[in-house]
């Protein structure tokens, strides 16, 4: 049995885990559930030795363990399959499985045959019918996933942690994976299964543990709980915002796009966007829902001038435009809050002020030199109006919490005084309070006449704040609902791709 006993993990500016306790049983599939940012991945990284520093204790078979690195965790029998696959594409299956623990003969040379035999045995057990010499590059994603499992099974592991193992594989591959998981479970291993796909969990999991905002909320037997209660425990709150009366389009659209098509830059046969048309009026909140890979992000990026190879037209205030860069889009009054704030939104090693002012430096000069006073003033304005919690405008952004970082990205977009604000997953990985503040801000901005497009994969928020909802699947818009007509059911139905 693997036990987490009062685990607390702090990062600069944010408490990722707070007093987390859980028991993971052998011979069971233990599901860990929680929304993005609930702390699932942090916990797994502690269990597998990636984060050696934390408060609290980890007990493995009743003895306390503290892994200094992933290798030690592996040695103690804890195998983990991370959400992102960690395979070297241009090495073979055998070479990947034995990476860092190669078998050598007495001359210190690689013993290719021994490794290949072990690999073949593992692949047989996992029913993957390919040669051990196959390059990872040539495998399908589902097959790569199986190789990851084989890698974890090589050192006879007692605990197998799987972080979102089905996020990139097809239905039939999922079935195979579940078969493997059940077999391993029957060998009395501790299986830890992380996912937020509830249907899947009801098929495979025996026990559940719900994490929310870094705390354990509840655990129990899967058979004693139903779908809705589980969702309620994961979300744990209603979105509490008060909408004034429904929006009615009375003016000309501020943004209208017609028949946008976009091909994959490296694979001309794949369509990223197919005949997408939409319009947005001033003061309107347009929600766009879609699953991973539906083309939502690509749509926003295309409008923002990041994909020049598209066809179709984009009109701002009835003017046809063709932006060649984000800079041009911003000049025309378009702003984008990108999906991944750390990768695309922030200069993490620079301070709050610099991050907020970076989009409008041209207005903050006198005689060609930056005017520090004007910059401070701008930063202060947004720190106050967006309630950004920071010790000062000179604090480095990497030391702030996710919610405050998100507000900084929002601030630098608002500084350009956009007429259309596009938000891509604006509340991903931030806590509830910050989420509610962001919702409130979005509605306030809309009330000032700004047109707002919000892309999200969280249904409750789409339903709560959109005036109108578009659903995307496989690069096309598959449905459009007025807020009053939309429900979780009809949105999800439209979002599921037809030919999986």
């Amino acid at each position: 049995m693997l036990v987490a006993d009062h685990i607390t993990k702090k990062f600069p500016g944010v408490i990722a885990l707070q007093d987390v306790c859980m028991e993971l049983h052998p011979g069971k599939v233990n599901a860990i559930l929680g929304e993005n940012g609930a702390g699932k991945s942090t916990l797994m990284k502690i269990l597998s030795g990636v984060y050696p520093e934390y408060e609290g204790r980890i007990l493995l078979q009743d003895t306390e363990v503290n892994f200094a690195n992933p290798r030690e965790a592996q040695g103690a029998g804890i195998g983990i399959i991370h959400q992102e696959l960690n395979l070297v594409p241009h090495l073979s299956i055998t070479e990947n499985i034995f990476l860092g623990r190669e078998i050598t003969n007495r001359w210190g040379m690689l013993d290719g045959k021994a490794m290949k035999d072990r690999t073949r045995a593992l692949l047989d057990k996992l029913k993957l019918n390919v040669s051990p010499d196959t390059l990872i590059f040539d495998l399908k994603v589902g097959q790569q996933q199986v190789v990851e499992i084989a890698k974890a099974l090589l050192t006879d592991c007692q605990v197998l942690i799987m972080d979102e193992p089905t996020s990139a594989i097809t239905e039939s591959e999922v079935e195979v994976l579940f078969g493997i998981i059940k077999e391993l479970r029957d060998e009395n291993k501790v299986i830890v299964y992380i996912s937020h796909k509830l249907d899947e969990l009801f098929k495979i999991a025996d026990r559940y543990i719900v994490l929310r905002d870094g705390k354990t909320i509840e655990s129990g037997e899967m058979k004693d709980i139903n779908h809705d209660t589980l969702i309620h425990k994961m979300v744990g709150r209603e979105i509490n915002i008060i909408r004034n009366k429904g929006y009615e389009a009375t003016t000309e659209p501020v943004l209208a796009i017609n028949n946008i098509n976009l091909k994959h830059p490296e694979n001309q046969k794949r369509d990223l966007l197919k005949n997408v048309s939409l319009h947005l009026c001033p003061g309107e909140v347009l929600g766009i829902f879609g699953l991973m890979g539906a083309g939502r992000t690509e749509l926003l990026e295309t409008i923002f001038g990041l994909h020049r190879a598209h066809t179709g037209s984009i009109n701002i205030k009835q003017q046809s435009t063709n932006f060649r860069s984000p800079g041009e889009a911003m000049k025309a009054g378009i702003a984008l809050v990108p999906e991944d704030r750390k990768k695309d939104g922030l200069l993490l090693n620079l301070d709050v002020k610099t991050n907020i002012s970076i989009t409008t430096l041209d207005n903050l000069q006198s005689m060609g030199l930056l005017h520090d006073g004007k910059e401070q003033q701008l930063a202060k304005k947004y720190i106050d109006s967006l309630k950004i919690k920071t010790p000062s405008a000179n604090q480095l952004t990497k030391n702030l919490s996710g919610g405050n970082q998100q507000k900084i990205v929002l601030a630098k977009c608002l500084a350009t005084q956009p007429i259309v604000l596009m938000l891509d997953e604006p509340t991903r990985g931030i806590d509830i309070n910050a989420k509610n503040e962001i919702y409130k801000l979005i509605l306030e901005l809309a009330a000032t006449g700004m047109g707002i497009i919000m892309v999200s994969s969280e249904l409750p928020e789409i339903l709560a704040i959109s005036d109108r909802i578009l659903v995307m699947a496989e690069g096309s818009i598959t449905a459009e609902f007025k807020a009053a007509d939309a429900s979780e059911d009809n949105i999800l139905k439209a979002a599921i791709p037809k030919n999986l």
């Binding site: 984000p326 695309d344 930056l370 480095l396």
Partner: protein, 322 residues
Amino acid sequence: MTLNRQHFAKFQSLIALVVLCIVLSCLSDKFLTVDNGWNVMRQISVNICIAVGMTLVVLTSGIDLSVGSVLALCGAITAGLMKNGIEVHSSNLYIGFTLLGAILAGLFTGAGVGAFNGFAITRFKVPPFVATLAMLTIARGLTLLWTQGFPISVFGEKFGYIGTGWFLGIPVPVWISAIVVLTAVVITMKTPLGRYIYAIGGNENAAKLSGINVSKVKIIVYSMAGALAAVGGLIVTSRLDSAQPNAGISYELDAIAAVVIGGTSLSGGKGTIWGTVLGAVIIGVLNNGLVLLNVSPFWQQVVKGGVILLAVIIDKANSKSE
């Protein structure tokens, strides 16, 4: 918080420099003299010019290996134009160059070569290391073509003033490097361009999505590095009163060393011009001291390499302890 750390790191190299000077003045009575002081500063002025350009490039998380060759090319172009002008035999055309014209032509050549580097890097996505490595060879080849492999020499007193003259009691090359340093400090600390340079090095994606024209900034930065190499070329050519086709070989390495000792991160986004100046001074003083102490040139190289390594190790330890 990093600002404090950077200050501390700067402080640390300053202490290292002071200690170095004290030790050297105890070991050699020639070290702490006015003459030797000017001597050192004149010697490092070329490296400072190049290293300032290098700092800008490194801040964008790039590198410029071509500066040594560009220095030679630009020196040779200025020298050749000054001495011979351009003669086109077929059409009986002769263009003479004034001193200023020749100097400007050299500077523009440097900026042009740098712009070409930037273009290759941004338009064709050639990694900076490769693009400027190619230019290292190309520019050296062009220098040999232009000079036919022979030094071009004797230009008279006026041009010699750049490398050997004095102005208000201070050597002219020191004036030049001081102007270069101050301009670069203002650019990096006080202008949007400087801010964009740090932003691109810190997070190129975020910079692009903030509406910054990343390609343009990079091309400007590589042009500046090229032009500053050309400035170095003028000083070297003037001081020697001759443009050597093999001038500036491995100067890029001294410049990178100064940048690194000065605490600029090779992965970009972090560092200061002042740090680089300090780095260049440390290398200069070390060189000078080792010569005064009659250390064999072979050992000099070993010591210099060791100092570079030590500086980076200390810098890493600093950023970890935070």
